[in-house]
Amino acid sequence: MKFDSPATSNPIDRGRVVGIPQDRIDGPAKVTGTAPYAYERHDAAPSAVYGWIVGSAIAKGRIKAIDSQAAQAAPGVLGIVTHQNAGPLDKGNMNTAHLLGGPQIEHFEQAVALVIADTLENARDAARLLRIDYAPEKGRFDLAAEMGSAVAPETGFGGPADTRAGDFDAAFARAPVRIDQRYTTPDQSHAMLEPHATTAAWNGDQLTLWTSNQMVSWSAGDLAKTLRIPKENVRLVSPYIGGGFGAKLFLRADALLAALGARTVGRPVKVAIARPQVPNNTTHRPATIQRVRIGANRNGVIDAIAHDVWSGDLPGGGPETAAQQTRLLYRGDHRLTTHRLATLDLPEGNAMRAPGEAVGLLALEVAMDELAEACNVDPVELRIRNDVQHDPEVGPSRPFSSRKFVECLRQGADRFGWSRRHPKPGQVREGRWLVGMGVASAFRNNLVARSGARIGVDGKGHVTVETDMTDIGTGSYTIIAQTAAEMLGVPLAAVTVRLGDSRFPASSGSGGQWGANSSTSGVYAAAWALRGKLAEKAGFAPDQAVFEDGMIRQGNQSKPIGSLAGREGLWAEDQIEFGDLAKRYAQATFGAHFCEVGVDIDTAEVRVRRMGGAFAAGRILNPKSARSQVIGAMTMGVGAALMEELSVDTRFGFFVNHDMAEYLVPVHADIPEQDVLFLDELDDKSSPMKAKGVGELGICGAGAAVANAIYNATGIRLRDYPLTIDKLLERGEGSALA
């Protein structure tokens, strides 16, 4: 099915199952421990032995020699894989560094060996006996020091490196009010609960991988490419994933080394990347340096806006596209965005939790708070004044498909009690707490991707959906079941969903908040095909048949779909392909974040007291799991604002705090009441589901609302994240702190 013109009325609009809060259909399997995760496929590979990854002890250089004698002789050791015996390997399209290093070392903790043994403990102990002689080289690890050599990256996921409209420099120079500030965000780690893990087994030249991966088709292809075998010889199975956040978009070392290890020892091998290895071995969100300039009139109406972003990555890597939202969020005739990419020898930077906007808004939305203050305009009102209903770089010829941004600001402000905010910072005190409120806009692009599915109905009227779509804890199982149930007129309980198997039709996968909208649209397409087949069997006209209560009906005639499917069942397969609506219409999701913080008057400890958000993201397919996603994302926003930081040791070129004791994310005690409002919205240009992405919207801007609330509480404006006690104290003089 091609989606190239706006959706009209369709069966999803009935809203009997879709749009109703539903419990996760995979919930019971998860809470009873019966959902099989990649490292526990005792059912599929009961004879699996254990691989332990050895990571490089240097960041850059090469391996001079490997002495594996002692390791090989250690108890229980079955084999050792290194670059010396792995055979010729290619590199996946989505990988920057090689997943198995050597002799060249590209980053610290890059996998250089896999030790395979009969038990995990034996593999881990033997790995310590591997003697690797390195010749280290000087590397580049400091983004600020490498800014000068940064270059414009190629056009990628985030569009071109630079965009311009009008004459920014001239307009900025003549603007009566000017903001020009520099902001920084640190390297961050995904910190999903389940580390990367894979069980691999060969049967002849056929390889099966039970793994934890967001993008089944990409990764099956990249594994085949890396191993130089045909893609059809690889089966990748990833039905349950303990969180991904972008860390599992790509093939990683666990998968490749499990496959190589299984080939070496001639039996299934399982490999998990140990928690302390994850931050340096895998990908992370790269640090940014950002400059935001805004020129406005005295009423805060923007005439000129520029956002320059610097980030770094390994040679061949990509930028953090943190200026994306600045291209679309606010009005202004004179515009400039730039991205510059420095070469760094730190571990690979890549997508994490709303790449681009999540850190871009940490800068832009603080700049907007600074503009509001400079113009003496309420920060909510300032944003409303700068709303624009079309792509401001292109003009009115490219309107937004839907944009309830102003409504989010207004309704969100009302619900939160924004009017109680004191406009002057440092004025509100409750006991030991300085109290402040902040607001920030939420914005995230609405991406869509081709997605396929097959759907069948059996003789009893039970429906089964198969697609290689993944559920990374987001609720894909449930929204896909809802879609199938709505389309075929059966209850949710009459639908079985099978996900995450490369034998199923290729889907959009999960990433960039495109998964829910795209994959359900794929199921919608397949369901249309099945409806056609059922109507044909019933002798009804497909466009007049109504599906409800397990029956197909036309006029006063009706037949059970089970009996039409018959004993052998009836299946259909299709995919959704998106036309040029995303070109003709700017498509994005919007919202407004509100936050109240307390800052201890003595110690500068920050405690978030309340958060509220209003969001418009098209049809909300399952309000219950969508809310869960959004509050989780808001929590990540608190993490970004207050604590998350991979600390770079620029002498050794690695992230020092590489475990969960030292890399802090919010705990329950950090997160208070979170109020989420979804505005009613249907976006007919986004997909036949009239939905948009929502999973990442909640993080976008949330941290800036925290930062702005801290300013309102204390009068301290911090521009270097995370906003920790030491930074607040450094600026304590003249603030409201004691």
Binding site: E121, M643, L729
Partner: protein
Amino acid sequence: MKPFTYTRAASVEEAVRSASSVQGARFIAGGTNLLDLMKLQIETPAHLIDINHLGLDRIETTAGGGLRIGALVRNTELAADRTVRRDYAVLSRALVAGASGQLRNKATTAGNLLQRTRCPYFYDTRMPCNKRRPGSGCAAIKGMSRSLAVIGTSDACIAQHPSDMAVAMRLLDASVDIIGADGARRSVPIADFHLLPGDTPHIENALKPGELITSVTLPKPIGGTHVYRKVRDRASYAFALVSVAAVFDRDGQGRFAFGGLAPKPWRVAAADAAARSGAPAVAEAALDGARPTPLNAFKQQLTARTLASVFRQREARA
């Protein structure tokens, strides 16, 4: 984790005997720190002696009116003990400020005193660390030292002691009761129990090989207003940047002990003496001689501010 043998000791005497006779033996109690360190091969005991079933889990009053806390009393139990909450409130508050509920259920009184530093370089065996591998150097002094010690350090080591409980114990002048391999018992004031790093940062306490802590004894209650204030980078389940344990009496005298600042629970007589002069004076006395790094120098100001918060809390209660 290297292969190791394991026995469950039948008596305290047997435990210390076998600890001194078996090469590379270590006691195991809650295991909340030791097992993690074994997995990383930072600790590589050849033999573990399980002391969980030796009856060392009782809390009882002493003849002198103090409290004897068995070495194996779990942190959760100690924090909830009625006598502790009434007479040694600062200890109860320090305990619940530490770790998580699950860890406190498992962690023991003696094990808490012996827990090792959270210096990130100590945890990465590819990095130099004089505490982990004597003589290999210190990666932390010029590295990511934000969380590390500012006073009591040496050129060999700036690792901080991570405990909350021990800070309160130090404030209360606890003593550590020890039995040796020969069955001889001795008691060490907590002030002398933890050692400063000097040139030997791998030697962290006064225990001799084979010695076992049997209990920790608190002197009789000192009354007063008890405060434990811990400042960290998130609201719970994080180690202290700075913590202050304090007891004030009615006439404004006070005593203070500090966590997060030093290689051991930090207490200075001059700081106690400055109680009537207020928070800045106490902080100045406590940190006299501090040698912070550029990344952790903020802890000096934070100490004064945390003390200010403690004084404020005391006023609110008075």
